[in-house]
Symmetry: C2
Subunit: 348 residues, 2 copies
């Protein structure tokens, strides 16, 4: 089994052998690529928001700076799979070599810029160096090599948008695409968290619910809510901590006249926001959990404990055409592109 290059990359799993790379503790990240793989010169990692936040907190707690923590995790696991949060992110790089039996042979040329559209938690990665850390963009400049399997998705950043913007949008593209799939015209949507995924979700929600629908959002950070307000797409946006379920529920219930939300989109990057998400959804409504800090058992047991029969969805990072959809949202809404640029610009 391990000598056959598997389209899902199982041949690179070292521990435990035979597991999907996502579930492996450690991957073989060595070059050169097998005949159905692509090797990429990696230039930057966009770290998942929950992971990046955890790395920052560990740095504050004296566990080494973010760059060193990333080097250590990748050296140990052969992938940037944060053991504390279980999450990854995506990379940006240039194609080095395309295996002759990879589906993209003859399509992708060495030197082309691509971004991975699957999580770093399943992507074999070797790092020589970690350079600048952009804390606002949750992005780090690196030098290294990544491997893409036959079934691994990638995307080419478009030429009409800043590359950082595209990379950031790709990383969270599943959220707005899922919002578009789940929201219906006329719905009331509440977006919890107004980071990158939240901004795109607000835009996707507004397009889908239309003028008859209502879009609300909240975030604990005042700069984040100001930025979200600048989109001009939501009915109202509050600065509120979603961990305070009782306060958030009371405010939202009053604001909607007791109707609550048909769809709650959780894109928060902190733990403990499941109760507010569930309490703000109507009994016939749905909660779409995209924040990687979501706890399965907390969501399931809180709903049961509150006798709330709502539909609870695990946000799926893959929706067909999600990369294109996210880029199109940025193109259609100049204020959204501007907010992304603002979000990604490192303050001195």
């Amino acid at each position: 089994m391990r000598s056959d290059p598997h389209p899902y990359g199982i041949h690179r799993t070292l521990d435990p052998p035979g597991a999907l790379p996502q579930l492996a503790w450690r991957l073989d990240a060595s070059s050169p690529p097998r005949e159905n793989e692509i090797a990429v010169d990696v230039q930057a990692l966009a770290i998942d928001s929950a992971s990046f936040r955890q790395l920052l907190e560990a740095e504050k707690a004296g566990k080494g700076n973010v760059a060193d923590q990333i080097l250590k995790i990748v050296a140990e696991r052969g992938k940037m799979h944060n053991p504390a949060t279980g999450s990854g992110g995506i990379f940006l790089g240039r194609v080095r070599r395309v295996g002759a039996r990879h589906p993209a042979a003859g399509v992708l040329a060495p030197g082309e810029r691509i971004a991975s559209m699957v999580s770093l938690t399943l992507t074999p990665l070797q790092l020589e160096r970690v350079g600048g850390v952009n804390r606002r963009a949750e992005r780090v400049e690196v030098e290294g090599t990544a491997i893409l399997f036959a079934r691994t998705l990638y995307a080419r950043p478009p030429s009409d948008l800043p590359e950082e913007t595209s990379l950031a949008a790709f990383d969270v593209a599943g959220a707005p695409a899922s919002v578009r799939r789940r929201a219906k015209p006329g719905d009331t949507v509440l977006v919890i968290g107004t980071g990158k995924a939240g901004l795109l979700s607000i835009a996707a929600a507004r397009e889908k619910v239309g003028a008859e629908g209502r879009v609300f959002a909240l975030d604990a950070s005042e700069p984040a809510t100001s930025r979200a307000r600048s989109l001009g797409l939501a009915d109202e946006i509050w600065t509120l901590d979603a961990r305070d379920a009782v306060a958030v529920h009371a405010a939202f219930e009053a604001k909607t006249g007791g109707r609550l939300a048909d769809l709650v989109v959780n894109v928060a990057n902190v733990p403990g926001t499941e109760p507010a998400s569930i309490l703000c959804a109507r009994e016939e409504g749905s909660v779409l959990f995209f924040g990687m800090a979501t706890s399965f058992s907390a969501a399931a047991l809180v709903a049961e404990g509150l006798a709330h029969p709502g539909t609870l969805l695990i946000g799926n990072g893959y929706v067909p055409e999600h990369a294109e959809m996210a880029i199109d949202l940025l193109r259609r809404h100049a204020a959204l592109s501007q907010a992304f640029a603002d979000l990604l610009e490192e303050r001195p």
Copy 2:
């Protein structure tokens, strides 16, 4: 806030104050009940399957026997909330006192037998003693006091079924009720795990998909699959370890002629079964995760990594009328009742 008896029980949260009891580290489990609470003389705990399995493993690893571990957790947290799995279970007991302002005042009488229909992870509990541990039923006899809040669900075990059977069915009633809600006539359903929740899910699936539909199931344990076969309700049941995603997927794909499942119901009690669950679902299909060993990030990232756009659902333990539905399934299918009795009977 803490002096007002809150219908969700927030007044009993000690750490952190203001949190919902489910998310609290520690609850105030002291008697007597407040005016909108019920105090119950608890007689037995039905421990969640993932939690019970973890307690058994900890016992093997020399961390104390199951009874002592339960006493320790409850003493420390004021509730039977397994810190390793995040899950609980339900209790059976006799009503001691109903607060004058509880919705059941005048409805429930002291001495009546009731079972809690919400998780022990949010139920204030004090234990004087832990008696017999029934490893097959995942049930322990206890003496102690539990508190029900104004909004906490409970159910009366029916008189025409053995009490252990009802209690076991109540504990997992959300699974078959959700299967009934999600499956459609003619669907192909795969049930992963044939414990209590699995047996009820097989019966619910068969009733819903009808003769045109197909119901499959698998479990790693040969006694468990034999028992499930005795229902006579599934098309086929295999003894397979769901942690081996590649083997399970290959077998299921061959068996269904590549069609795969419209609905996969995960009621496994071990970690690592997310990939098999996702791989066995059609791209347009759904996976309903009910096993409390499910990892949110594993499910989300595996689907993304495999570019699988299926709908991923967090099983909600509360579905209106779920207790009655589970009991009715047992009444309609004599072989199911018999399988439950067999499953619950402690071997010497």
